[in-house]
């Protein structure tokens, strides 16, 4: 038995459903036409004339559709007029019935759903641009979609909630983002969304249900083992399951949140650098938050609270917990625990006067905000970190003026976007987190020198024949290119571009913070083809992550607060900004460029910056 789509099945039902009105029309027409042809007309020359069948059909057509031309082609006899009355009533009612059935059919919810599914699958199939599949369009999902849209990356969106998909319809994304109401855990919906599509870069499971996310990840792995899967998960059991699968990245919003809180408290310079990379509002490079030393009061000991406490304890920071139903065994022996809601008395009991700060991390925004008010009353010097749950309360959190507001949907979306857009940057942050703060401070100083304090524009360049033909040719011919050469400005040679190389990835290995003017060693880029004798995987080019100031971003500042992930948008990339005659990144694909031979390898970099495209796939 061949597989049939929903549309096939539904269209068959539609046809069968249409039988009845069609038969009604056919019957009424047949009786009317035959009757009209049989009715005796006027007597001419002693002979009764009759309407022929064609004229009867003509007459019935204009009568049944209520056009009513009159008595054509000749005047009617009384018998014919009698039959006309019959034809008129039956014909008009038959038409009403048929049209009514048709309208009812078009409004049938199953039919509409099948048509939507069909159109959606068509849209995905015809799409040639790279895209990601986004399962779940909640707070995190919509933030991520906005971020992807800012980077001109397409997404296909699945959500089980009709209202969310309706909400998707009124967004003004820069690229097409087809969405459909469907259960993403069903393989047929994943297939319709393009799991096997060659342009599909990744699948992101962001539904609120961990079971569903696991199911999506497993289904996707079976359907297309090569597809990268990013999966949101908050339960340890699922995580263990997911991490066992290769090509699956698990993103735990609570873990990310706890990590950010921990960085903010113990590694302010790293937190500052990370916030600057993602373009968080109000972040200035090299001006980290000043966090006092001492014990912290953690209000709320749920899943998030567990992560935060675990993270801070592991690094030797004392935590006092305020939560109405905390389990003393779980929290550890020496921990101070106040079993109450985080109000005045509870904060006093936890010793707010000598605490370094408060982390209001319950899952209720009203509780967190009221805790902030109490803390301001009791100890104005305490550092206040607050968890912001629902996007609706944004204005209240802005007004609360906490020292650090963390919204877990936003932090999760930013992390995923970083993984998709510039995976090496996240690697770099993790790399720095494992090293001395001095290394981070040195990098910050370097970045300030090179690009200034403006929000950066991050992008990756792949030195592969498809994307940088001139460099590839030069390297193939035995030439060597240092990173510093690539960073030179082709228009103002030999001046350097205001950019800084953050990381290089080659043949599965990453080099962090390469020295751009190193004459030899790792950072020197050599092009070598696959060497059979050495049995090593073929190097598939380099990926260089760079940061620079985005000119277009500076000019577009203050265009009103938009719910944005903040990662700089790639529009008006520097190729366009530097010289209008140069093809920008958007029309790079239109061809013709590859035929232009470039003399200096650095020129290639200037002409083919591809910010915001999913490069990691080829490189890994």
């Amino acid at each position: 038995m061949t597989q049939t789509s929903d549309l096939d099945r539904v269209s068959m039902i539609v046809l069968r459903y249409m039988r009845r009105p069609l038969f009604a029309l056919l019957f009424v027409y047949s009786v009317g036409i035959v009757g009209m042809a049989l009715m005796p007309g006027h007597v001419v020359d002693g002979e009764t004339t009759r309407m022929n069948l064609f004229h009867a059909f003509y007459f019935f057509t204009y009568t049944a559709t209520t056009t009513g031309f009159g008595e054509l082609p000749n005047g009617f006899s009384d018998e014919q007029r009698l039959w006309t009355i019959f034809c008129l009533y039956t014909g008009v009612f038959a038409w009403f019935y048929a049209i009514g059935s048709l309208i009812g059919l078009v409004q049938n919810p199953h039919f509409i759903q099948a048509m939507d599914g069909f159109r959606f699958a068509q849209k995905v199939e015809r799409n040639k641009e790279p895209f990601v599949i986004l399962c779940g369009f909640g707070d995190t999902g919509s933030l991520l979609a906005r971020g992807l849209s800012d980077h001109r990356m397409r997404a296909v969106i699945l959500d089980a909630d009709e209202e969310r998909i309706k909400a998707l319809g009124v967004r003004d994304y820069t690229v097409a983002m087809p969405g459909i109401r469907a259960d993403a855990g069903a393989p047929k919906h994943l297939l319709a969304a393009g799991v096997k599509h060659p342009a599909c870069l990744a699948l992101i499971a962001l539904t609120n249900d961990d079971d569903v996310n696991l199911k999506i990840a497993v289904m996707a792995r079976h359907l297309n083992p090569r597809l990268r899967v990013i999966c949101r998960s908050t339960s340890a059991r699922h995580e263990a399951n997911l991490r066992a699968l290769d090509n699956v990245t698990v993103v735990d919003p609570f873990e990310i949140f706890a990590q950010l809180v921990y960085w903010a408290i113990t590694r302010p310079e790293l937190h500052n650098l990370n916030a600057w990379f993602v373009g968080a509002r109000g972040t200035q490079l090299g001006v980290p938050v000043q966090v006092p030393r001492g014990d912290w009061i953690l209000c709320g000991y749920g899943r998030m609270g567990h992560w935060i406490q675990g993270c801070l304890r592991a690094h030797g920071i004392g935590v006092r917990i305020i939560d109405p139903d905390v389990d003393a065994d779980e929290a550890g022996e020496s921990t101070i625990i106040v079993e109450a809601h985080a109000d005045h008395s509870a904060l006093l009991a936890a010793g707010i006067e000598d605490a370094a700060g408060v982390i209001a991390a319950t899952d209720r925004d009203s509780d967190n905000l009221s805790t902030l008010l109490s803390v301001t009353d009791l100890n104005p010097d305490a550092f206040r970190i607050v968890r912001h749950n629902s996007h609706e309360n944004q204005v209240a959190f802005d007004a609360a003026r906490a020292d650090l507001v963390l919204q877990h949907s936003l932090t999760t979306a930013r992390r995923i976007l970083k993984l998709l857009i510039s995976p090496l940057v996240q690697e770099l942050i993790d790399w720095l987190a494992e090293r001395e703060p001095a290394q981070t401070q040195a990098l910050v100083a370097r970045l300030k020198m090179a690009v200034g304090a403006e929000p950066p524009h991050l992008w990756s360049v792949r030195l592969v024949p498809d994307e940088a033909p001139a460099v590839a040719e030069y390297l193939n011919a035995g030439g060597e290119v240092a990173l510093g050469t690539l960073c030179q400005d082709a228009d103002a040679f030999p001046e350097s571009l205001p950019c800084e190389a953050l990381a290089i990835r080659r043949a599965g290995q990453s080099i962090m913070l390469p020295d751009r003017f190193q004459a030899s060693g790792e950072a020197r880029i050599r092009w070598r083809l696959y060497d059979d004798a050495q049995q090593e995987p073929p190097p598939r080019g380099w990926m260089v992550s760079l940061a620079r100031v985005d000119a277009s971003r500076r000019s577009s500042r203050g265009r009103g607060r938009r719910r944005s992930l903040g990662m700089a948008s790639p529009v008006g990339g520097w190729a366009c900004g530097a010289d209008a005659s140069f093809p920008g990144p958007r029309n790079r694909r239109s061809g013709g460029i590859r035929t232009r031979r470039l003399h200096h390898p650095a020129q290639s970099l200037c002409r083919w910056p591809r910010p915001g495209s999913g490069h990691w796939r080829e490189v890994s």
Binding site: L15, R16, M18, R19, L22, L26, V34, N52, F54
Partner: protein, 127 residues
């Protein structure tokens, strides 16, 4: 015995019979060919098409296709008749009549195919 099957078979065989009744006889002589029979053949054929709608099987698809071919050709023959009919009344001339009947004979082939499928399907399912 299933009434639906009876009605289905009735209209398919009726179409074939009416089609044969129309095309039988000299191809040019109008007196052998009755316009009423052609009209009824078209109506019977349309009913048969309606009955064939909504069958998802391979046989059903072939039946519907042959029904559509027969309907198309019969309606084409009827239109030629309308155009060729003299304004004063009477039947079309021998040339036009030959056209009409040959088109209707084409429809006959499609109707025979439909009937053969129906009969064959019925016989096979008997076993």
């Amino acid at each position: 015995m299933n009434l639906e099957r009876v009605v289905f078979g009735f209209f398919i065989v009726l179409t074939l019979s009416l089609n044969v009744a129309f095309v039988a006889g000299s191809i040019e002589m109008a007196s052998y060919h009755n316009i009423w029979i052609l009209t009824f053949a078209i109506i019977a054929n349309l009913v048969a098409i309606g009955l064939k709608l909504g069958d998802r099987s391979q046989t059903g698809a072939l039946l519907l296709a042959s029904g559509l071919v027969a309907g198309l050709l019969l309606i084409a023959a009827r239109i030629v008749w309308i155009v060729a009919e003299p304004a004063v009344g009477g039947a079309p001339g021998p040339d036009d009549m030959a056209d009409i009947v040959s088109i209707a004979r084409g429809a006959l082939v499609a109707n025979i195919i439909a009937t053969v499928i129906l009969v064959g399907d019925t016989l096979l399912s008997r076993r």
